[in-house]
Amino acid sequence: MISLRVKIDEASCEGHGRCYALAPALFEPDEIGNASVLGDGIVPAGEEDRARRAVANCPEHAITIDAST
């Protein structure tokens, strides 16, 4: 089955926090507000829209989403 996977480019993330506000099941803030992906970044069923919204709202274009098999 094909599922989606999100990734954050740490060098580009500046901690705007749009991703963990929009998709708290997928991203979390560290102690300075920068984001990391929860677990392996595989997007669980039902979270796809929130994942895409996070990608589309990151001001730094730091998040990518790809199909993973």
Binding site: E14, G15, G17, Y20, P29, E31, I32, A56, N57, P59
Partner: protein, 401 residues
């Protein structure tokens, strides 16, 4: 006004961000520049400056910290001495790499989403207190009776300043913020009063450390060294100057929009869960903050012959309204789902207080909408906007119904 600013005749070659028309309604000015042959305007005022208006140009400049220095982020006729770099007078906002990273890192934990979450309940209680004081009146000034007070109280609480000083502290801060155009002596007086107040508070915290932001800063270290009295004082002053009129402006502009757009107001009253999305859209469309940079060496930037020491304004509000960056950029779409706005800047200087500001803005709107679901603009001609680099309503007569 101390300096003489003749009215602008041609925005493309003689712009001035302190012109009254720019304060009252900058949107058509940006649109005109953006769609002209050169989307980067020029002025000989201020010793030479540029005004990009496209999102692509604003972001490219924000990311290029080699050619565009933060040595001063407020454009004026006077440039701070070159030796001020890379620290600048108010780190981290005035700092360039590599100094910038440490000065910024030390602040961030105090403003993380987790730290900000703990302040939400007291912020809401304070908003409700301000609202209770307004009840029974027909018309209030939402800028001074409400919006202005919220960021002052929140930062004073974080810093651990006596709440009984609230009014006095607000007067000091507002005088400094509103005094940017005062003659130098009057400006020194208001700065002096604020610094004296801060000195007493910091000394008290040195003698009696507690669990608040002032003690946190006094204990904080950069590369194993404590910040020291001076650095802590200047950092607190920066937080006041960067955090208060910005947030005050954002709350006021959002209330202005809802007061003059009944459809959006009704929608948020009916669907309060939409408020966080609306907050992002209001931040985008009414972004209050424009920053400045100084060019470090002669550079041809997209056809513009920029010279070392030229100013460049970074109008994030204009970038947010670039139609090439976003469809329907000139409309406020309260439930906009794709919104990569840069109201809090881009790159290494992303607003350190953005999580705090967002919380304050959301809570202020929620409390207001709960209390006054049918508010309207009482007098459209009575609204006054601040000009310069932080734009927001300074007078906002609202009928609270």
């Amino acid at each position: 006004m101390t300096t003489d600013h003749p009215p602008v005749e041609d925005w493309a070659v003689d712009f001035d961000h302190t012109d009254e028309r720019y304060a009252a309604n900058p949107f058509p000015i940006w649109d005109e520049i953006r769609s002209s042959a050169c989307p980067i305007a020029r002025t000989e005022r201020y010793g030479g400056a540029w005004l990009p208006t496209r999102h692509a140009d604003v972001s490219a400049i924000a990311y290029d910290t080699d050619h565009f220095s933060s040595r001063s982020i407020l454009m004026s006729a006077v440039r701070p001495p070159l030796e001020a770099a890379p620290m600048g007078i108010a780190p981290p906002i005035s700092s360039d790499p590599p100094f910038h990273g440490g000065a910024r890192r030390v602040l961030l934990p105090a403003f993380s989403p987790q730290a900000v979450g703990k302040l939400e309940a007291s912020t809401r209680a304070y908003c409700d207190e301000l609202i209770d004081a307004m009840r029974g009146r027909e018309v209030v000034d939402a800028a001074t009776d409400y919006a202005q007070n919220i960021p002052v109280r929140v930062i004073a609480t974080m810093l651990g300043f006596p709440l009984g000083d609230d009014d006095r502290f607000r007067e000091f801060v507002v005088e400094v913020i509103e005094g940017v155009d005062l003659p130098p002596e009057a400006r020194m007086d208001s700065m002096g009063a604020l610094y004296e107040y801060l000195r007493v508070q910091i000394e008290d915290h040195t003698a009696h450390p507690r669990d608040d932001l002032t003690s946190f800063l006094l204990n904080a270290e950069i590369d194993g060294e404590q910040l020291g009295f001076e650095h802590v004082g200047r950092t607190i002053a920066l937080l006041l100057l960067a955090g208060i009129d910005t947030t005050w402006s954002a709350i006021g502009a959002s209330l202005f929009h809802l007061a003059s757009t009944p459809g959006d107001r009704e929608r948020l009253v009916a669907e309060p869960e939409l408020v966080p999305t609306a907050v992002e859209e209001l931040l985008r469309a009414y972004a209050p903050v424009t920053m400045a940079r100084l060019v470090t060496e002669d550079i041809d930037f997209n056809g513009c012959p920029m010279k070392a020491e030229d100013w460049v304004l970074l109008p994030f509000p204009a970038a947010n309204r670039d139609p090439e960056f976003l469809a329907d950029a000139d409309e406020v779409v309260i439930d906009r789902e794709v919104n990569r706005h840069s109201a809090f800047g881009l790159g290494i200087h992303r607003c350190a207080g953005s999580h705090l500001a967002r919380m304050e803005l959301r809570v202020a709107l929620e409390a207001w909408l709960d209390a006054f679901p049918t508010f309207t603009l009482a007098d459209a001609h009575g609204v006054r906007w601040s000009g310069g680099q932080v734009r927001g309503p300074r007078r906002l007569p609202i009928a609270i119904g």
